[in-house]
């Protein structure tokens, strides 16, 4: 399997009034053309890991790594200009809430066309046709109508599909999805995941799926990385989640209520300081 992304000892540090805070502390993993899940609770550094790869870390933060390479390109030394060419074209990102991450004053169609024309030389008519085809590919029933709608006029599920369409239209090789379905209803969640799954496998993309929901990730991804306090505590195949070794992973799996399991009170996580060490 060819390696798309290589991350070795990634660190993201934020200066604060009380000193330096390390949000990501030495994360190492690699990604091929597969679905990789990154799971952790709030503050575990999972989103900052995704943002560092995408180049969206706030300017005051410091990033260091032994290696941060996408398809052989060193992302740490690359110029902002080259970085911009990568972003959107070869690496795409889906964010949590379409309400906040789509431009509210621009129609959905125009936003998709804008992405396409930033990265490829295409005429207006062709761009429109390709945007419509993309909207259809994310299972929007009436693409011509949705093309002209503004983000506030569509539901959460529809907005998230539009965002996926926008991210896929330039044909990226790698996609980072940061909690792409947490703002959606459970049934809509599955539709969106189904679309994502199909497009990723059809196009042979690498996908990094960042989520707090261990069960959802394990049913969707091939491999799972579990993060705690900025570190990777466990890496395992999604199918082997039941055999997780680390007490944090097991605790996280255990503390969720399940239909049919009569456990009162629920087991709670007993956080050990050595997990974060």
């Amino acid at each position: 399997m060819s390696t798309l992304l290589d991350v070795e000892d990634l660190r993201v540090t934020f200066p604060t009034r009380t000193g330096l805070v390390e949000a990501v502390r030495g994360v190492t993993f690699s990604l091929g053309r597969e679905r990789l899940g990154i799971v952790g609770e709030s503050g575990s550094g999972k989103s900052q890991t995704g943002r560092a790869i995408m180049g969206l870390t706030p300017p005051q933060a410091r990033i260091s790594a032994n290696k941060l390479a996408f398809d052989g390109i060193d992302l740490l030394s690359v110029s902002p200009r080259e970085r911009r060419a990568l972003r959107g074209k070869r690496i795409a990102m889906i964010l949590q809430d379409p309400k906040y991450s789509l431009d509210p004053v621009m129609s959905i169609g125009r936003q998709i066309v804008e992405t396409l024309r930033t990265h490829e030389k295409v005429g207006k008519a062709e761009a429109r046709d390709r945007a419509l085809a993309m909207l259809e590919a994310v299972q929007i029933r009436d693409p011509a109508r949705v093309f002209d709608l503004h983000p506030h006029e569509v539901s959460g599920g529809m907005g998230q599909r539009a965002m996926i369409a926008m991210m896929l239209i330039a044909g990226p090789e790698m996609m980072i999805a940061d909690e792409p379905t947490s703002a959606l209803d459970v049934t809509v969640q599955l539709d969106v995941l189904g679309i994502l799954d199909r497009l990723v496998s059809e196009r042979g993309m690498g996908l990094i799926f960042i989520s707090h929901d261990l069960r959802l990730v394990s049913s969707f991804c091939d491999r799972v990385i579990v993060m705690y306090a900025g570190k990777v505590v466990e890496q395992l195949k999604a199918s082997e989640l039941g055999r997780a070794q680390h007490p944090y992973t097991r605790g996280l799996l255990n503390c969720m209520p399940k239909i049919g399991a009569d456990r009162h009170p629920l087991p709670v996580l007993d956080r050990k300081p050595e997990w974060a060490a």
Partner: protein, 248 residues
Amino acid sequence: MTAAIAVDRLGVIFDRFHALKGVSLDVQPGESFGLVGESGSGKSTLLRAIAGLAPVASGSITVNGKKLGTRREKAFYREVQMVFQDPYGSLHPRQTVDRLLQEPLAIHGFADGEKRIQRALDEVGLGNGFRFRYSHQLSGGQRQRVAIARALILEPSILLLDEPTSALDASVQAEVLNLLEEVRRRRKLTFLMVSHDLAIITHMCGRLMVMQSGEAVENLSADDLVERRVTKDYTRNLLRASDGFVRA
């Protein structure tokens, strides 16, 4: 036995939008009842209507045998308290925990505030160290504990819970759910709980109602749901969705 909460053909209309279309519901004293459905199904609106926070257009609400008018009396709020979804939005940002907890006591003219605040904080597992902190100095789980303490401080008999754990991490969620179960057992409270998560509802509630676009789809016991004895496709879809993603 009179029901703790009896809702009869309740209708709620926002402008021209019918958010609730004749929903009926009975919750017995000491029972824990769940409301499930997707966003827009009206489950939160039903809860808010009972608390007096939504415009009731038709039907009636009876609490502990007393029919409610359009205005809630002070006595109502000693019986019924609510815990909201977002612990970041439901606590006053410029008041300390102490001040937050004093407010309901002052409104209802309790004299032994000092003792009650200490007891309420102990009960939710926060202790005195948290008393003079502001809400931004607390984590999400701690804030939700403060919100629960604020609801319990008037010793109500009914708690309305609107997605009390959906903004929390899984491990913190378990702690807050355990706390809620414990106070319910100790104080023999009646719960009416809204959640989009079927697993949480079956864990917390004995009976539940499934809602869709402002109407009741079906009434089930938690056991029905566990054994998958559901009659409506909508509920079946929800159940399937809660199992996680299945590759086609």
